[in-house]
Each structure stands twice: as structure tokens, then as C-alpha cells.
Symmetry: C2
Subunit: 216 residues, 2 copies
DNA sequence: ACAAATCCGTTGCCGTTGCAACACAAAATA
DNA sequence: TATTTTGTGTTGCAACGGCAACGGATTTGT
């Protein structure tokens, strides 16, 4: 386990080596690996834990009755998932799937709910709350994207959100075309079609998950 | 100010009268009223406070460059808005609008970020975090609705979410038809059209904001 | 009570998008 | 290398939905 890199986590940002060790122990952290395609958090888990991604990509998703797939969240290294359910002690109709081989840290949420015995514990509680707040803002942005009326506008909104407003710069997205379609709540082939129209129009260019944003 | 009713808030649930008074004082609570149509939280506010709705309805919304209106959240009595921004000390591109005459409690978030001096303060911190977690789940549900591919499916998803799964029961929605359309990210007239198709098909009946859900 | 504003359904038009099916390329596997 | 699996673009078609414009009903305000 590379404790160095943990300072990049919103949860552990800026902590010293010893503090991180203490924090991991408070959370009863356990490292787990899953192979690509594995299901991590299942539908019925009433979880007392949440997860931190060390490497790889995880999708939090669900499927409706008609078999439609939806992606609730894309979790990249140093970010977490399952915190809300963990904190509330609930289960829900979502599951997490490893989109690549992943290594995770399983963290027990108990220490978040007891009065803090140390300043470190209090700090972690603060960080946890801040993470939830950030997640809310993140989901707000997602909702703004999904509310756009056309695929084109969804793409533009997503690009400005992911690629920053910087013009002419390249950026990559953490999913393939099918994943992108699920994320935007549109049909994959229709997305493909619209992306090519944008390329023909000179707005963007792309190859695989690498995109170029030509001008405003 | 009716302190009685505050026990219905997720934030103050189950607290005694004295505790609620203490809590309000910790939050430096101030009651404010706004008239229908007024803007409460503006785009540029770097807020140190969040708001609790005592009566009336507030919409948290934003408009994009093309002038499209979007509703991020509908806030009904005893619920709050602006907590995420408050906790993070950020401002954002959303604003809050009073959809009816409203009375609010303005709450200062400072006490949420300091080590708790009392068990009450700790409890409030816990409640606040739980509120954020619930909000995340709520937004997850919203995302699931928005990801549906057709207006009809969005309506169904919204009904099952708002009206419970109970069959044959009535429920009301906290917005008018235009608000509902914004909430679902669709055109108002198209929504109207689809609602009438559903009524013709015998799936639902409705009048104003009151809806009947006929069978599963 | 009257005027103004708001809310809601209706309709025609046509571009957009979902859907299914297929072809091809690249990558993974044996 | 041969074979399978996965990822991506393409296309035809029909239905859906966005848009604009309108009219009637209800509500609000004076």
C-alpha cells in the first residue's frame, strides 16, 4: 500500500505519514483488489463501510426494470463511494462495478458517528462532511448536464465541466463511448452520431477517450 | 416563530424545547420572510450561512447561457438549502427563488466546523452530515429519473419516487406544470401532451398538482 | 367587478433521437 | 497466429419531443 499517495485524497489531504497511519487504523482500513467486471457493493448490502479507490475505475450504477443501465457515479483513484449509504446505515438499489482491475481501501464508518476522541478523529469527520458537500455540488453539475434538451448541449456541458473552460486543450474522459452514453442518459449510437457531427463541424476532435475542444 | 414544529426538521428532530432554543442560538438563527418571486441566495454570495424553510416553497435553480431554466432542488418546509456551499465556503452559479411567500431561518454554519464544545453541538454536526448524505441519495434518485430516455418513463419514475409505490393513492407535487417540466428537463408542452396521453390510457388522472396513480 | 397576469392544454411542424442491425477495427485470449 | 470479444461508427426508420403560437380557464391585483 502506497501511503505516500494517500495525501492526494480529499480525505487525507495534507496529513503526515504518522497521521495517515493513525487514520487508517481508526477506519480499520483493509486493502482489497477486484478484477475487472467484479461487483463490489451489491444491492442488498446494508453497509457499515465505504470504499476508497487506490487504482482503477469503479462505476456506481443501477439498472431499471426495463433493463436500462444507468451510471450514478464514476469513481477514480483517491475518491470514495458508498459514503452516504454507510453514514446512514442504509442499503439501496445501486451496485458498484470494477471497470478495470482495481485496488480499494475498505473503510469502516463507525468513527464518524462517535464524539471525537482526538483532533485527528475530528479532522476526519470534518473531511468526510466536506466530501459529502463536494459530492452534492458534483451531482448538481451532473443534473445541470442531464437537464439539457439535446445531446449536443449535453456534450458541450459535459466538456466544459470536465475539460475546464480552457480553450483548445485536450482532456480525457474516464469512460468509453458506451459509458459516456449512460452517463449522459442517451443512446450510444445517437451519441456517436452527434460526436461525429461535432467533429465535422470543426468543434471538436477526438480519438478514443481523448478529446480536443477547439474553441469556446 | 413556532418552535414546536422545528422538531419535524431533520436537523432538530426529537430535540426538546430547550435544546432547540440552544441550537438556534448556536446557529445564530434569524427569521426572514421573502415575498413570492424574491431571490434569496444570489449567484455571487460566498455564503457562511444556509437556510431552513419554515413555510412556503423555495426553488434552487440556475439558467444557462441560452436562457434555459433549470431547477436543481425544490425545498419544502423543514428542509434546508445552501448547506453544501455554506460548509465549503464557496459560491456557485445557482440562486434560490421564493415560489410562494416564504419564511426562512437563516443559520450560520460556523459551529459546524469547530470541535464540538457540547454534546448538542456534536449532535447538530452529526445531523448536518446526515442531511448531506440524505441529500446525496435524493439527488441520486433525481439522476435516475433524468436518465430515463422518454418523458413517459421520466414521469413514471418521478411518480414512483414521489407518490411511493403504493397503488391507487393520491399525492401532490410541489410545483406547477412548468416547474415539473423544468424538474424533468423536458419541454412544458411536451410534458402536458404526455400527461394527457397517460390519462387517456387510464394510467393516471390529475387535476392541478394532485395526481392519482391508478395501478402499478 | 374588471383588467392583467398566470397557468395549462392543444396543435402543426420538423429536427432529433431511440432502436435495431450491421460492419469494421482493435484488443484480448487461446 | 487464429479466434473471440469488445469498442465504435453507420444507417434506415419511425416515433418522440422541442419549439412557437394560440386560446381558454383560473388567479391575482386594483
Amino acid at each position: 500500500m502506497k501511503k505516500q499517495q494517500l495525501t492526494e485524497c480529499p480525505l487525507f489531504y495534507g496529513l503526515g505519514e504518522h497521521e495517515i497511519e493513525d487514520a487508517l487504523s481508526l477506519f480499520s482500513a483493509t486493502q482489497i483488489s477486484y478484477e475487472k467486471g467484479a461487483h463490489i457493493m451489491t444491492l442488498s448490502d446494508k453497509s457499515t463501510q465505504f470504499w476508497l479507490v487506490l487504482s482503477g475505475t469503479v462505476h456506481v450504477c443501477c439498472d431499471d426494470e426495463e433493463g436500462h443501465h444507468m451510471i450514478m457515479a464514476v469513481v477514480t483513484p483517491f475518491h470514495t463511494f458508498g459514503e452516504s449509504l454507510c453514514y446512514l446505515g442504509l442499503h439501496s438499489g445501486v451496485y458498484a462495478e470494477a471497470k478495470t482491475n482495481v485496488t480499494l481501501l475498505s473503510l469502516d464508518g463507525s468513527i464518524l458517528r462517535e464524539p471525537p476522541h482526538s483532533s485527528l478523529q475530528f479532522l476526519l469527520q470534518q473531511r468526510f462532511t466536506a466530501m459529502l458537500a463536494r459530492k452534492a455540488l458534483e451531482m448538481n453539475a451532473r443534473i445541470q448536464i442531464l437537464c439539457k434538451r439535446s445531446i449536443r448541449d449535453k456534450i458541450f456541458a459535459m466538456f466544459t465541466h470536465y475539460g475546464g473552460q480552457s480553450n483548445g486543450r485536450a482532456f480525457s474522459l474516464p469512460f468509453d463511448r458506451a459509458g459516456m452514453a449512460f452517463y449522459l442518459g442517451v443512446d450510444r449510437s445517437a451519441l456517436s452520431r452527434e460526436l461525429c457531427r461535432l467533429e465535422d463541424g470543426g468543434y471538436i476532435s477526438f480519438s478514443k477517450n481523448e478529446f480536443y475542444w477547439h474553441f469556446h
